[in-house]
């Protein structure tokens, strides 16, 4: 044991530990291989200090949270004292006393932090009274299930949503024991601004937020002899699913995974990397056309459904800048549903398309009305990596022992470009590999563009391609995307192409992947995907001969009419809040004059709150409660002419309280009220 005190060490439980730029004592303690339990500490997020589990005793200072104490040389820290042990136990018991302890049926069973901490601290009895009051489970979202009965109010989800994604779809409400994490206005998650990235569920230590499961529907389809069930697997899945079976992160288990899917009963196993190659061809072409013919730039990628919903909500004016290409998931779904029935002489109704994705937002994407043809979805069910692992477990397959098998052809064939789609920078690199050859007309000697690789959330790179220099933005985390989108909105963005991934590190860090608290896991998975690329024979999408053949046989010209029908889509301006209004009065609604005052941010700033108050006063003083139904409404999407007030459906722009009152009186007169 080293006991000499130097200027740069501090003492943890009697051991001198060097300080190497750790941000807080907790990091240093963990560096010293002491795993203090926490719920609310997350290295990507701000320090919160709420769970009180990382308490330590510092000589001269008493009990302090390790997460919020900067390491200072000379500190004497004790992590285990009788007093601290008791406080930790009490904290966990307090949480357990207010928790729905149905652990065996909980979606987070076995990966639950609360369960793990309770076990580690040796809690055998909860000394406090059970005070848990059941609350309804919110199943409104297509991607996530919110179960407030499991929430420990650590705030990880809230901070991720606002600090990394810049959204704030959920936040704390109420005080004392009523405190809860809720979507805005106490509404359901599916109605609000949530973009379905699911990172809240990924950081949730308990089962309060979990990806919505579709396993049962898939089992049902697999068991139905009249159905042909086709599955596609996204690139990021193959370097993560092994974690669930004890394999190291980043190790590609493609062969075992395909074997497992076949054993589970899928009739065809295709690779989403194939349609990623297709996306590269279409998107790079769209990009080069815009670049050379003066179309809208920067071009934003559109394969991330979280980002697409984000853009629709907050940047409707930038929708023309989004690539019109469908995501690889939807491209493959569209192709399968178009080609297979004819090829196999099959009724389209009996063809079921399942995709395995690292992502929860893909569940939402598959249900978008734009992605249905003749009332039938292009992709019927989306399973996350976690769900596939569960099915494999349920089927009793010994994953690591399976003999590797190959994807089915032709849509199981891909190049390295399609595979690296799964990590941040991958789409950009794949497009560059295509564009460089297209622009110069020469073959690339080395397909690697190391400039676009990296882990930073916002990277700006310039890549010379022949005579021109392409300026690229690569972002992950939507707060970073917002930074660039704001610039583009103001016309201050000189980038050519912006790749956006909602999740940290891209799809490999998706919320459908196995749960991990290891901060290095994303690096390992990314490394895994680049290794797969390296080991492949082909690295450029244009070299995928099945893609070429697909154009020749089915799609026609790149970017042509048929390609557009199957491979492109459109976007829409989306309200941030579903539902119409928040009712402020009561009484029978039918005959009332219906008045809606916009309470959106823009109208609020322009004075709609004042109008609302004046109208409320009018209703009250003139006793019009049963004649006028006055509501605060969400955005009418007419922000530039706000404040907007609607009286019986008539939208009054740049409205004043005076004008609204006059209109209401007019309508009352018309009704002889």
């Amino acid at each position: 044991m080293n006991t000499t005190v130097t200027a740069k060490t501090l003492n943890i439980d009697g051991v001198e530990v060097p300080i190497n730029g750790e941000r807080n004592l907790l990091e240093l303690i963990r560096q010293a291989d002491i795993d203090l339990p926490t719920f609310c500490y997350h290295s990507d997020l701000s320090v919160y200090g709420a769970c009180r589990l990382c308490l330590v005793d510092i000589a001269g200072r008493g009990i302090q949270g390790a997460c919020s104490t900067p390491p200072e040389p000379g500190l004497k820290v004790r992590t285990q004292t009788e007093e601290i042990r008791e406080i930790r136990k009490i904290s966990v018991e307090l949480l357990l006393a207010n928790h729905e302890r149905e652990c065996t049926t909980c979606g987070k069973s076995a990966t639950c932090q609360l369960q793990a901490v309770a076990r580690k601290l040796g809690i055998q009895k909860v000394r406090f009274q059970p005070v848990h009051q059941p609350r309804p489970v919110d199943r409104s979202s297509l991607s996530l299930v919110r179960d407030p009965n499991k929430c420990v109010l650590c705030g990880d989800c809230v901070r991720f949503c606002s600090e990394i994604q810049g959204i704030g779809a959920i936040d704390f409400a109420y005080r004392g024991h009523d405190a809860a994490v809720l979507p805005a206005f106490g509404r359901d998650l599916g109605e609000g601004e949530c973009i379905n990235c699911g990172q809240c569920a990924a950081v949730c230590p308990t089962g309060a937020l979990t990806p919505r499961q579709e396993i049962d529907e898939v089992w049902k389809a697999l068991g139905d002899p009249t159905k042909m069930v086709v599955v596609q697997v996204a690139p990021a899945v193959r370097v993560a699913i092994g974690e669930q079976f004890g394999l190291p992160p980043g190790e590609s288990t493609r062969g075992q995974m395909v074997a497992a899917l076949k054993r589970l009963g899928f009739d065809r196993v295709y690779d989403t990397a194939f349609s990623a190659d297709l996306t590269v061809v279409e998107e790079a072409n769209e990009f080069l056309t815009r670049k050379t013919k003066g179309g809208k730039l920067p071009l934003f990628t559109s394969c991330c459904p979280g980002w697409v919903k984000f853009a629709e909500q907050y940047f409707p004016e930038l929708l023309p800048n989004l690539s019109s290409c469908k995501s690889p998931q939807q491209m493959l779904g569209a192709l399968v549903k178009e080609l297979l029935p004819a090829e196999l002489n099959l009724d389209k109704k009996n063809l079921v398309m399942v995709s395995i994705m690292p992502c929860t937002a893909k569940k939402f994407e598959a249900k978008r009305p734009e992605f249905a043809q003749d009332g039938m979805a292009e992709v019927d069910h989306v399973l996350t990596t976690q769900e596939l692992a569960r099915m494999i477990e349920e089927a009793g397959l010994r994953f690591t022992k399976l003999q590797p098998e190959s994807f089915d052809m032709p849509m199981g064939f891909k190049t390295g470009a399609g595979v690296i789609f799964g990590n941040s920078g991958g789409v950009s690199e794949a497009v560059l590999r295509y564009a460089a050859e297209k622009v110069t007309g020469k073959k690339l000697a080395n397909p690697d563009f190391h400039a676009v690789r990296g882990a930073d959330g916002l990277r700006i790179v310039e890549v010379p391609v022949g005579d021109i220099t392409l300026k690229l933005g690569v972002v992950h985390g939507l707060k970073n995307a917002r930074t660039l989108a704001e610039k583009a909105r103001r016309g201050k963005c000189d980038l050519d192409l912006i790749e956006v991934m909602a999740c940290p590190g891209g799809c490999i860090g998706g919320a459908g992947q196995p749960v991990s608290r290891d901060p290095d896991i994303r690096k390992l998975r990314t490394k895994g995907l680049y290794e797969v690329d390296k080991n492949m024979e082909l690295h450029k999408s244009q070299e995928n001969h099945f893609v070429t053949e697909c154009y020749q046989r089915h799609l026609g010209e790149i970017g042509g009419k048929n390609a557009h029908r199957l491979l492109h889509t459109h976007y829409r301006n989306r309200r941030r809040m579903a539902g119409e209004t928040i009712t402020l009065g009561d009484g029978p609604e039918s005959e009332k004059v219906k008045v809606n005052v916009c309470a959106g941010t823009n109208c609020f700033i322009k004075g709609s709150q004042g109008i609302l108050h004046e109208l409320l006063d009018q209703v009250e003083t003139e006793k019009l409660q049963d004649k006028v139904s006055l509501n605060a409404s969400f955005c009418f999407e007419q922000c530039e002419h706000g404040p907007t007030v609607s009286v019986d459906g008539k939208k009054m722009q740049r409205c004043t309280a005076h004008a609204a009152k006059a209109e209401i009186l007019e309508k009352l007169k018309e009704r002889k009220l």
Partner: protein, 629 residues
């Protein structure tokens, strides 16, 4: 800046505005609630009707009017309001109604006589007291922060100037360096009046030495303790003194922006602070060039949204930034990284008012009052079972006995009568404080001695309790408040206070066992040691201090299922002391369920089977023969 104003600031200049007489109507929240505004209107009408030349405005010049009528802030003796003071006669009329105005105008203002029936009568000596100089409630106090409250018109900046106002700010801004100001405050030993008692000079020095182009000073006026109204009274009675202190603080640390965070439940304080800011801007005390110094200083009054926790510094900062009012871990301290990430100091209303005095009179004079480690005076809101309730100001080091027995006029019984041996305890420092007992009556009230016995000065709530008060119920009352006001962020506070409350409920309802008390004590200590912020860390204080001083009372509840005071209905066992009962039959007649029986002139008995523990018998008995309810 206007020359006339500068002249007022010069103490050598003449006084001006000499009217023969002044009528001052207290318009603090308490008096307003009891009709002070109607009284003012009545005065206006009747003075005019009596033909007296009157003004309601303070003017800097010599006045030709015979009388000035004005409203003032809280005069402190809230229980006796509405209060009307006549100067220079030094008459204080109490409980004045509209109907009394006629008498006051005719007899006092016209006839020069005192209306005896409106004077305060000392309950012990039964003597009427003409003015505050005769009233024991005031005699024992030393009012500095409250000195001008109740005298000047809080809405007149001119009158404040006439009383020497803004001289300290002017001195600090034009004549003193930042270092000099901080040194003077440090030397004065002034400690934060908001609760913690942190040395103000040290706080300022920490912020002063931060290198930042932007700094902030926030005045913490989010007084939220139940039963505390010191800050409200200062803001309502002398808002400019708070603003002046704020200006000095800003100058000391080099801030050009200040905020006053007032709780929204104080509408009058909000209005008066806003008006004060407006007036100060008009006269160039705030703005881009304050006192002609070339320096800028701005001030904004902001209303809090009503959460108790926002009195905590970091939660207040979050609230100002538009976030949910939740504390965040320290470090970083606000002096390093506060509002919008800039160095920020947060001082309580009363602290700022004291700052003015320190700069005006010097640190040495300030230190003459109070104790060595807690110099100066402190305001307290004195409530509960005392004869005189209201707002008081005493030097630190005054004993509890002086406060309760002399200023408070003694402990009262359930009928409001002063009772010689009725004292049981005092809850000091609000829901985060602790209780003091008989043995602490001679304890000097200051930061350190209170902390040594497990209580705290807190913001200054002082609730006196008589022997009929159940200490378990008191602990429950405060725990109920804190668990509701917990922001819900940290586990120990949110869930811990809720469990403490549940345990107290068990004790009160008779479900508790010895284990309950042991676990409650452990939990209380864990919450105290482990919570994130001051609210959580102090929340268990009422439980811990009642456990420490009234263990026997807890034991009676838990082991004997008996509440000695009878306040806990489930555990009350009313009985009639046969030695005291004279058999007057009064209780038997009042008992709603006929549970009391007994012959005339014979001791009566309560049938426990029938009794519903309503307590009417105890209220009825003039001999205090009924116990246990």
């Amino acid at each position: 800046m206007n020359h006339r104003i500068l002249n007022i600031l010069d103490p050598a200049a003449g006084n001006g505005c000499k009217t023969q007489r002044r009528v001052i109507v207290c318009a603090g929240t308490g008096c307003v609630a009891n009709g002070a505004y109607q009284v003012i209107t009545a005065f206006k009408e009747q003075i005019a009707a009596a033909g007296i030349s009157m003004t309601t405005e303070f003017k800097a010049e010599e006045s030709s009017h015979d009388l000035r009528l004005n409203k003032s802030g809280c005069q402190g003796f809230c229980q006796m309001g509405p209060l009307v003071t006549i100067l220079p006669d030094q008459i204080l009329y109490n409980k004045v109604t509209v109907a009394d105005v006629d008498d006051i105008v005719r007899q006092t203002l016209v006839g020069g006589k005192v209306v005896d029936r409106l004077l305060y009568v000392d309950p012990t000596t039964r003597k009427p007291c003409q003015g505050i100089q005769d009233i024991p409630f005031y005699q024992r106090q030393q009012r500095f922060v409250l000195k001008e409250c109740g005298v000047i018109d809080p809405e007149s900046i001119l009158e404040y100037l006439h009383h020497g106002g803004y001289a300290a700010a002017k001195k600090a801004i034009l004549q003193m360096t930042q270092v000099e100001i901080v040194q003077e405050i440090t030397r004065s030993g002034l400690r934060g009046r908001g609760g913690g008692g942190f040395p103000t000079g040290r706080k300022w020095e920490a912020a002063r030495t931060q290198k930042s182009a932007k700094k902030y000073v926030i005045c913490n006026a989010d007084e939220g303790d139940p039963g505390a109204f010191m800050n409200r009274s200062v803001m309502e009675g002398n808002p400019h003194s708070v603003l002046e202190g704020l200006m000095i603080a800003a100058r000391a640390i080099g801030a050009d922006e200040t905020l006053i965070y007032v709780r929204t439940e104080y509408p009058l304080a909000v209005a008066r602070m806003k008006r004060a800011v407006e007036k100060a801007q008009q006269l160039g005390f705030l703005g881009d060039n304050i006192f002609g110094s070339g320096q800028a200083l701005h001030c904004e009054v902001m209303e809090g949204a009503g959460a108790f926790v926002c009195g905590e510094e970091t939660a207040m900062i979050a609230s100002i930034e538009g976030q949910r009012g939740m504390p965040r871990p320290k470090p970083p301290f606000p002096a390093q990284s506060g509002l919008w990430g800039k160095p920020t100091i947060i001082n309580n209303v009363e602290t700022l008012a004291h700052v003015v005095r320190v700069i005006n009179e010097g640190a040495d004079k300030f230190k003459q009052l109070g104790s060595a480690a807690s110099p100066g005076t402190k305001t307290f809101a004195l409530t509960g079972h005392v004869a005189n309730t209201g707002l008081i100001e005493v030097p630190f080091g005054t004993t509890l006995r002086e406060v309760v027995m002399q200023i408070g006029g003694g402990i009262t019984d359930r009928r409001g009568k002063v009772k010689a041996n009725g004292f049981k305890a005092v809850q000091i420092g609000g829901p985060s404080g602790g209780c003091l007992t008989q043995e602490h009556l001679d304890l000097p009230l200051d930061y350190d001695s209170l902390r040594s016995v497990g209580a705290m000065v807190g913001s200054g709530g002082l609730v006196a309790m008589n022997e009929k008060t159940c200490m378990v119920s008191i602990a429950r009352f405060f725990m109920d408040f804190t668990q509701r006001e917990s922001c819900g962020k940290c586990v120990l506070c949110r869930e811990g206070t809720r469990q403490l409350l549940a345990m107290l409920d068990d004790i009160i309802e008779g479900h508790a066992t010895g284990e309950t008390i042991a676990l409650m004590e452990k939990l209380a200590l864990a919450v105290q040691k482990g919570s994130l912020c001051g609210l959580g860390k102090t929340a268990p204080n009422p439980v811990l201090s009642t456990l420490r001083y009234f263990r026997a009372e807890y034991d009676a509840h838990v082991f004997h299922k008996h509440c000695p005071t009878g306040q806990c209905k489930a555990l009350a066992r009313p009985s009639i002391d046969p030695a005291k009962c004279k058999g007057c039959m009064a209780c038997g007649k009042k008992c709603p369920v006929g549970a009391i029986s007994g012959e005339r002139k014979q001791p009566h008995v309560i049938d426990q089977g029938k009794c519903i523990v309503c307590g009417v018998c105890a209220d009825t008995c003039k001999l205090d023969a009924v116990t246990g309810v």
